[in-house]
Amino acid sequence: MTDFTLSCPLPVAERKTVVLGHGSGGKLTAQLIRDLFLPAFDNPLLGRLDDQAVLEAGSARIAFTTDSFVVTPLFFPGGDIGKLAVHGTVNDIAMSGAMPLALSAAFILEEGFSMEELGRVVASMAEAARAAGVPIATGDTKVVPQGAADKMFITTSGVGLVPENIHISASNARPGDRILLSGTIGDHGMAVMAKREGLEFDGAIESDTAPLHRLVAAMTAAGEIHALRDPTRGGLAATLVEIAAVARIGVEAVAGAIPVREPVRAACELLGLDPLFVANEGKLVAFVAAADAGRVLEAMRSMPEGREAAIIGEAVEAHPGMVLLKTEVGGTRVVDLPFHEQLPRIC
C-alpha cells in the first residue's frame, strides 16, 4: 500500500472530536485519511489515493468514484448543489481518463426543507446530466428530522470505462513532466463565499462548475497524460502537494503563469485570501509528457472548458514531495497544505 507521506514532520495532534478542518481538504483531512481510513480499509486500490478507483474486471478496467455534496448555500452565482454533484462525479471519473457511463444520486433531505427548492435542484441536476450525456441511473432518498441535516446532502457515485491504452494516476507523474492547468482558479470558492458571507460582488464572480470529460478525451487523444486531478477543496495548492507526495516528485510552478480572473483576484485581495487555496469545480491539472505538452495545450485551448489553459510549471527530481512557487518578483516560496480552510482577515 502506498503511504501518503507529506514532506514535513506533522505533530501528533490528538483530537477527541471531528472538527470542520477535517473536511476542508487540507492537512487535517490528510491526517484523518492517513491515520483512520487507510489503515482500516487497507487495500491497494484505496492506497493509490486517486480521485477514483480503477477496478480490473476481466479485460476491462472500470473507474469507480463517490463524492458527497454538503455545500451551503444551495444556490450560488453560476450554479447550485445539484449541478455541482453531477459535474463533480463526472470529473472524478474523467480524471482517470475514463468516459463516464452513469451516475447514482442519493439524497439526504432535512424534514421541513422546501419542496420548491428541492424541485429546482433536481431540475438543475437533470439538465447537467443531460448536457454531459451521462444518465443518473439509480438513486436513493432518505429524510431525517429537522436539525439532523442542513437542508440537503447529495452523494453521487459514478462508473466509467478506462480505454485500454490509458494509464493515468497521480503516481504516474514523473520528473520532466510539464504541468498544465485548464483555466482560471478561484472562481467557484469565491462565488460561494460571496453568497455565504453576504458580500456583494455584483455578479462579477461565478462558479466555474463544468463537466470535463470531453476536455480530457481531447487531451488524451493529443498526447501522453501521466496524471490528472481536479483542484476542488484545498484548491490548486492541495492538488499539487498531493500529487508531489504520492508520486514522490518535486514540483516547480510559476506564480505569474497561473491565470486568475481580475474580479476573483480583487475579491481575494479584499478578504486577504490566496487564490491558490480556493476551490474550483470546472478545472483540471495535468502532468503531461514534456514532448507532448505543446500539442496537449493546443487541444485544451480548442475546447470551451480549456480556452485559458496554460503551462504553469514542471515536475522535477529535486525536493521530492515539495512544491515550490516562483513569486512575481523572483523569490521562491514553498506551497504547503494549510490545516484549515482560509478565513477572511483584516490584518
Binding site: F201, A204, R261, E269, L270, R345, I346
Partner: protein, 79 residues
C-alpha cells in the same frame, strides 16, 4: 496588520446620516464608509480598510515613484 486595498469611488450616497460610497476594486464592488474622506469624489481612488476609506491614493505620487524606480540600473555592481 492593516489589510487595505485601493479602489475607485463609483457613487456616493448618504445612509441615514452616514456618508457611504460604492467602491470598485478591479471588477468587484463593495460599500465603504466615507466619513473620514468627506471631500472625495466619484472617479477618485481611495484606500479601504475594514469597510472604511482611510486615505486617498495620490496618482501623481504613484506615477512618480514608479518613474523613479524605472531609472535605477538593472545590473548590480557586485560581481
Amino acid at each position: 496588520m492593516c489589510l487595505a486595498v485601493p479602489g475607485k469611488i463609483v457613487e456616493l450616497r448618504d445612509d441615514g446620516g452616514v456618508p457611504m460610497a460604492r467602491v470598485d476594486f478591479g471588477g468587484v464592488s463593495r460599500d465603504a464608509c466615507m466619513a473620514y474622506l468627506p471631500d472625495a469624489k466619484p472617479g477618485e481612488y481611495v484606500l479601504v480598510h475594514v469597510g472604511f476609506a482611510i486615505s486617498s491614493v495620490d496618482e501623481e505620487e504613484a506615477l512618480r515613484t514608479l518613474a523613479d524606480l524605472a531609472e535605477l540600473d538593472e545590473i548590480s555592481g557586485l560581481e
